[in-house]
């Protein structure tokens, strides 16, 4: 039997493991606990290869949040199931794919019924922006439909174990997973909120209708006809080009965070982290809390990317931050056994002879995120590439409405920033919708003005977030400018 990598004792988290579940992984029986993802359960049992390329090369996991294609597998013969966001169930059969999957001719799929839903507002994504938008609209009495592709609500909040920075009035000082618990708890009290988990919004259609595929026990094809939509689909981790970057054991930093903080599975014994932004620094600290030795953090720039306080936390735990360093290659036969780092010159080119070899079984890539804008792009929203925001993101008004009338964006999908601004953007989008849908109240517009003022004239003026402020200004326009954009006069 392979060892169990589940974390028993953790300084911050209590992992509640209740009902045991067993399922089949090829010829093996895997023991898991209710609530775990298939991928987390396999990882805890020592599995590191989750699919094979056509030529037989094994593939590890990369994102662990249902955004990449590394862990697509057969579940009960249904191909292309993203097992990182698929919960374990009794007696399911999981098999790895090799290259393209077989045509699903014998999956014995039941007829999936279609259900039409009329709602005031559809919210896509239940991270900080989506949850806050949902709660705001629910409190005003609107009928809200919240869909989330993960089977749990909270987005990336559920794996944030640190106390949040920010304003006391905006969840500052509370650990991220506690904020998720609080918001989800509040939302559950409203009978005018309809929540669908394991539910993916797959596209906009005519008649103002959005298709949502709901999986799990009660499978259905939801055709939602809302008066307004908030797309709060978050972000995807970026990869990095280096030799053997596809070796199992090279993964996004957030994937390790998902394993250890969401599921309590220790991702490795020894790690190096590439990138010293806040994500790289915070996750390095959390790896140590989970019992992982962090051998080094590498940063290609001459200075540390993230905030000093985060850097100081890992430095005083003895972790070196190697500025002007990059990763040259990963080494190992079928999984990571070593990371080779190198110093770089002023043109970011590796300096021969400066290689440093680290015997590690995990290489975490923390080089930034990009907005998950695909649904908005399909909807026809005009998007713009903004380097400061991590990639393409829709043009929007100050009230968060995109060039598609009544389609709004909030959170990281609107450009990479952080949780405090995601909450605020979610609330601004919700209040703009309330005003548009005819909710006549001075208090609504006053609240919205206060939020906008705080966001733009207080919070985003902080020098450490200047880059994202510049980025957001590049894609934010007035109502008048947006009208011109819609008519094709601008852009």
């Amino acid at each position: 039997m392979p060892s169990d990598l589940r974390i028993i004792e953790h300084p911050i988290l209590d992992f509640k493991r209740t009902r045991k579940i067993s399922f089949f992984f090829e010829n093996q029986v895997i023991e898991a606990y209710e609530g775990e993802s298939i991928l987390a359960a396999l990882y805890a049992a020592g599995v590191r290869i989750f699919s094979f390329s056509e030529n037989g090369v094994g593939r590890g996991l990369f994102c662990s949040i249902g955004r990449c294609s590394s862990c697509l597998a057969y579940v009960n013969k249904v191909p292309n199931v993203r097992i990182c966001i698929e919960p374990v169930r009794d007696d399911i059969r999981v098999e790895r794919q090799k290259g393209f999957p077989n045509l699903p001719l014998d999956t014995n799929v039941n007829y999936v019924r279609t259900e039409r839903v009329k709602t005031d507002v559809l919210i896509v994504g239940a991270g900080p922006a989506g949850l806050k938008a949902t709660l705001t609209l629910a409190e005003l009495g609107f009928d809200v439909t919240l869909v989330n592709d993960h089977y749990k609500l909270g987005g990336q909040l559920v794996k944030q174990t640190h106390k949040f920075f920010g304003d006391k009035m905006y969840y500052g000082g509370i650990r991220g997973f506690k904020i998720a618990e609080k918001l989800v708890g509040e939302i559950s009290k409203f009978s005018n909120v309809h929540v669908y988990t394991n539910a993916q919004a797959y596209g906009f259609f005519d008649e103002n209708t959005i298709g949502v595929a709901v999986r799990g026990c009660d499978e259905k094809n939801l055709l939602v006809k809302p008066r307004a939509v908030v797309v709060a689909t978050g972000a995807v981790e970026k990869s990095l080009l280096f030799e053997n970057n596809d070796l199992p054991g090279v993964m996004g930093a957030g994937a390790a965070q998902t394993l250890m903080n969401e599921y309590g599975v220790k991702p490795s014994d020894k790690a190096v982290v590439i990138g010293s932004g806040n994500v790289g620094l915070i996750i390095s600290y959390q790896l140590i809390q989970a019992g992982v030795n962090v051998e080094a953090v590498a940063e290609i720039m001459p200075s540390i990317g993230g905030w000093f306080v985060h850097a100081a936390k890992v430095r005083r735990l003895g972790v070196p931050i190697l500025t002007k360093h990059t990763i040259l290659r990963a080494e190992g036969t079928d999984r990571v056994e070593r990371a080779v780092l190198s110093a770089v010159d002023n043109n970011f080119q590796p300096i021969t002879g400066s290689e440093k070899v680290f015997n590690v079984d995990l290489i975490l890539i923390a080089v930034g995120l990009q907005p998950n804008y695909s649904l908005l792009y399909q909807a026809g929203a005009i998007c713009k590439y903004v380097a400061e925001l991590g990639g393409f993101t829709p043009i929007r008004t100050w009230g968060m409405e995109t060039s598609v009338p009544n389609v709004f964006v909030a959170g990281d999908a609107s450009g990479i920033e952080e949780a405090t601004t995601a909450f605020i953007e979610g609330e601004i989008a919700a209040l703009t919708i309330a005003m548009k849908l005819g909710f006549d109240s001075n208090s609504i517009s006053r609240r919205r003005s206060e939020l906008m003022d705080f966001l733009w004239n207080e919070y985003r003026l902080a020098p450490v977030v200047e880059r994202s402020r510049i980025g957001k200004l590049k894609v934010t326009v007035s109502e008048e400018e947006m009208e011109k954009i819609r008519k094709g006069v601008l852009y």
Partner: protein, 161 residues
């Protein structure tokens, strides 16, 4: 090299940010040291202080401490998301007392011995833990530190039994 390159603050850095108490104040008794030199959008320390000794002009200003109002109670230590707050007590002759945040395993116990670490995680000695308390899973640990190491010690490691 600056702390932006090293992740390590010097005593001059702190003095420049007006976050270093005077020698006289340090000798008088416990006092807070906020190792928070950057303009980050966060204001939790202001609300954490029962004596209103910490202030900020704007949410992103570098915090300002009124060292005469501060009694060194340490209430702010576990509420700082950056774990950047420490309390130093140089009022005793034989040793200094440092109170610091701790979020690792094993859990700290009063009267046990901890390994003292500096800002780079290097061992600089051992010290007795004289007080522990916890707020939302963050421990505040007060340790005895050789007096001449009061500026260096900013972390501890506790050996498993």
């Amino acid at each position: 090299m600056s702390y932006r390159e090293t992740g390590v603050l010097t005593i001059e850095d702190l003095a420049r940010k007006e976050l270093l108490p005077s020698d006289e104040r340090l000798r008088r008794g416990p006092v807070v040291i906020l190792e928070c030199p950057e303009e980050i959008p966060c204001n939790l320390c202001i609300y954490a202080c029962p004596f209103k000794a910490i202030s900020k002009d704007r949410i992103y200003s570098v915090p300002r401490v009124d060292f005469d109002k501060c009694i060194g109670c340490g209430a702010c230590i576990p509420q700082c998301p950056g774990l950047a707050i420490f309390v130093v007590d140089l009022s005793r002759e034989n040793y200094a007392l440092i109170s610091l945040p701790y979020e690792m395993l094993p859990k700290p116990e009063k009267d046990s011995i901890a390994v003292l670490l500096d800002r780079e995680g290097r061992e600089v000695g051992v010290g007795r833990i004289v007080k522990v308390w916890q707020y939302d899973k963050t421990w505040v640990v007060t340790v005895e530190v050789p007096r001449d190491k009061w500026w260096e010690v900013r972390n501890i490691r506790i050996q498993r039994k």
